[in-house]
Amino acid sequence: MKAKLFDYIDRDNFIFNLSGLTKLLCFIFMTFAVMFSYDIRYILFVMVLSAVIFKASGLEFKQIKIMAVYVVIFLLLNFILTFIFAPTYGTEIYGTRHEIFRITDFYVVTQEQLLYQITKSIKYASVVPLGMIFLLTTNPSEFAASLNRVGISYKAAYALSLTLRYFPDMIRNYQDIAVAQQSRGLDLSRKEKMGVRVKNTMNICIPLIFSTLDRIELISNAMDLRGFGKHKKRTWYVARPLKKGDWGAIVFGAVILAGSLCLSVFVNGSRFWNPFV
């Protein structure tokens, strides 16, 4: 029951009812908008927006809790490592140097560096909820249908959606195998040394791989037997025609992207917002 990660649960609200294609496009637009701009104000705006959308979609925080924890850890690491390897990158970008305090001659904390690193972290932090919203509110099959509609081959699209679909199953399977192996004395807890733990995890992965391979053979047979891959194209039972709301959402996403581009070109003059000059 812990396998909530990536479980798709159908709900009836505006976000869920949008077509998969719309959500994919909006996701691409908004991600690109955030990735392009280094203007923290705009990124914060998108981040608040994604929080609002998250709320509106009726998703619960506990569905993405594990993911959120990993993201925070990753961001912290990234934050620290960036500082260790490039403590003056911020001053290079912004062209000024406002020192806050010195650690050593090389490691100087500057306002520029702080702004740069915080901007970067927030960038990632705002993309992740967007991705999670997209994954959790899109029926995996519809996701395949929408990928197919933007021109990706249906076989590749189906492979991806099947992977998403069986991911929760694999996690469940992993947990089952893990407890069974633990009962043979396999220790995965913190009491064991890191190296041994990694090795022990391998002992779980091998049976997991073999039982997954069995499964793959079965599913591919089942698909062959029902004519998958017979024609160059296929239709989709779940495909939804674009409605008014979809067009609205696509335009909205496009406006966000345009906003990001305009801000860079006309207001900031570069991808960076520079408050120091």
Binding site: D10, S211, G227, K233, T235, V238
Partner: protein, 573 residues
């Protein structure tokens, strides 16, 4: 066998097949005709080639499994060598064994539509067809449900509908009963029968659970062994021919009972199905046998090794899985835990092993409360074997796999060698000590997983989900006899199972769980002759019980017990 007016839809002529990966042909010189509208049951032991026949019919051979084909196989008059799998899939619809694994779509509707999507059917028409076919299998109201919300039987109905959308001529069922509980299996057979009658399809069923398939009419039984057809006759003739046992297929229990009673079964007795059996012709013999005096086997009282007191468990507040479950298991008992899918049987095993923690009540091992003991601590006394050996095996060599638990516990290497050798010997694997696991059969792998638990010297062995699932009668007997000998050496065994034969023959004690509550706790004979419990827990009363009733024996339970005792004493000595 030739029937006027009906053409053959399947014609095997001197057909042989050899997988490229194998040294010997899997099918030799098969000659078989199946006529339009017939319902044919193909039986045979594991590895007999019966599934290979199925693969040839639906085109998986040679499309997915490659090999050398000789002779001819025509479907609807057309040579299959000249067809591809897609063409064949329009004529032969296949329902695979694992209804869960073949569920491709994310909802019922989508899954049923899969073949139509691949045929580029337009969406409006597709929705109509899906609705119509879903109604045929009584799933019309559940089009939006996801596979997680469905029972095993419902998933199978969806799989069934998924092939019916193509309006195929031939329906092929590959072990349709393998993962179903007895009552659901019965409805599955009913459904196949309904479609066969109402829509005039040709039906081929591959299955070794003969008695369960014969719950409804079957025209012919084809017995396959070693890649050859050894018998092809009506059920009535097959029962009279008395050859099933020889080829590792279990005959219906009531037929066995007739033989014990000294009846020489003939085709005229119509013993193919219990409902057609000529009762007056056999009644006297059965009654006489029943009334023969029998010495009772006395069970002595032994100390309780595992007890549960008012056990409760829930994943979330709303979903109560176990409710107030209490039981006591004596040392050296062999116990079956039965009930519907999702009733809480597996959860019970998980609570006992400490994989999850109970929310209320107590679990006592030899009188001592196990609360707070970790998985590892409990595993010193209680071992858990998962259903699928592939889920447990993680070493390439047999010895290493069996030694894994001891090595992890830091046992010295000399002692490991000794204990592993001993465990492998008990499991009949001593000659294979140095073999790689990949060279073993499924049943042997199962033994390896058991051996790898035995090295830990457990007092209790828990086997999850049908230790014998997917095994033919021969291998089934082998595994069960092995477990029985293990049990006799003092290990208490708990088995989670759907298999009523297993329950009846091997476990003296059965605990029935339904909706998280214990609804029965008695001898297996008592449970399987209790219509109320059987119905509640999706079991089926045994055909022995029905035979007793039909022949007018009042003490039907006594009759079943007599059968079991007789078999124990005379057949397995």
């Amino acid at each position: 066998m030739e029937e006027a007016g009906r053409g053959a839809v399947v014609e095997f002529e001197n057909f042989s097949f050899q997988y490229f990966s194998q040294a010997e042909p899997t099918l030799h010189d098969i000659n078989l005709k199946i006529y339009e509208g017939e319902k044919v049951l193909v039986v045979g032991p594991s590895g007999s080639g019966k599934s290979t026949i199925g693969h040839c019919l639906n085109g998986l051979i040679p499309f997915s499994y490659h090999g050398k084909v000789e002779g001819s196989l025509k479907i609807c008059g057309k040579e299959t060598q000249e067809m591809n799998i897609f063409e064949l899939s329009k004529r032969v619809g296949t329902v695979l064994q694992d209804a869960d694994g073949q569920f491709i779509g994310l909802t019922v509707g989508e899954d049923i539509a899969f073949a139509l999507e691949n045929d580029r059917t337009e969406q409006g028409e597709m929705k109509e067809t899906v609705q119509r076919v879903a109604d045929m299998v009584d799933m019309g109201k559940l089009l939006k449900s996801s596979p997680f919300e469905l029972s095993g039987g419902q998933k199978q109905r969806v799989a069934f509908a998924g092939v019916l959308v193509d309006d195929v001529d031939i329906l092929l069922f590959d072990e349709p009963l393998a993962n179903l509980d007895p009552a659901t299996g019965k409805t599955a057979i009913d459904l196949i029968d309904k479609v066969w009658r109402e829509y005039h399809k040709t039906v081929v069923i591959i299955e070794h659970r003969l008695e369960d398939v014969l719950y409804r009419d079957v025209d012919r039984i084809v017995l396959v062994n070693d890649g050859q057809i050894v018998a092809d006759m009506t059920p009535d003739e097959m029962m009279a021919a008395d050859i099933l046992g020889k080829y590792g297929i279990r005959e219906p229990l009531y037929v066995t009972a007739l033989k014990y009673a000294g009846v020489k079964v003939e085709a005229a007795h119509h013993a193919g199905r219990l409902v057609t059996l000529d009762i007056p012709a056999v009644q006297d013999a059965v009654l006489k046998w029943h009334n023969e005096p029998e010495e009772k086997v006395q069970q002595e009282e032994r100390p309780v090794i595992l007890a549960a007191e008012h056990l409760n468990f829930q994943y979330t507040k709303k979903r109560k899985i176990l409710q107030d479950v209490s039981f006591a298991i004596q040392e050296g008992e062999m116990v079956s835990i039965v009930g519907t899918n999702g009733a809480g049987k597996s959860t019970l095993a998980k609570v006992i092993c400490g994989f999850v923690n109970e929310d209320g009540g107590r679990l006592l091992y030899a009188g001592e409360d196990m609360k707070g003991q970790t998985i590892k601590e409990r595993s010193q006394n209680i071992s858990y074997v998962m259903q699928n050996p592939n889920q447990m095996i993680c070493k390439p060599m047999i010895f290493d796999e069996a030694a894994l638990g001891l090595r992890l516990n830091g046992v010295p290497e000399e002692e490991i060698a000794e204990r592993v050798e001993h465990a492998l010997k008990i499991c009949g694997l001593a000659p294979f000590k140095k073999w790689p696991i990949s060279a073993l059969s499924y049943g042997q792998k199962k033994r390896v997983t058991i051996a790898s638990m035995l090295v830990m010297n457990p007092k209790i062995l828990i086997l999850d989900e049908q230790p014998t699932a997917g095994q033919d009668y021969h291998h089934y007997t082998e595994i069960m006899e092995f477990l029985k000998s293990l049990n006799e050496s003092g290990v208490t065994i708990l088995m989670i199972t759907h298999d009523m034969h297993l329950m009846l023959e091997y476990t003296s004690h059965a605990i029935v769980i339904s909706d998280g509550k214990k609804i029965g706790d008695a001898s297996a004979v008592e449970i399987l002759t209790n219509e109320k419990i059987a119905e509640q827990a999706n079991l089926k009363v045994t055909s022995l019980y029905e035979l007793a009733k039909l022949t007018g024996i009042e003490d039907a339970q006594g009759f079943v017990q007599k059968f079991i005792d007789y078999e124990r004493r005379n057949m397995r000595a």
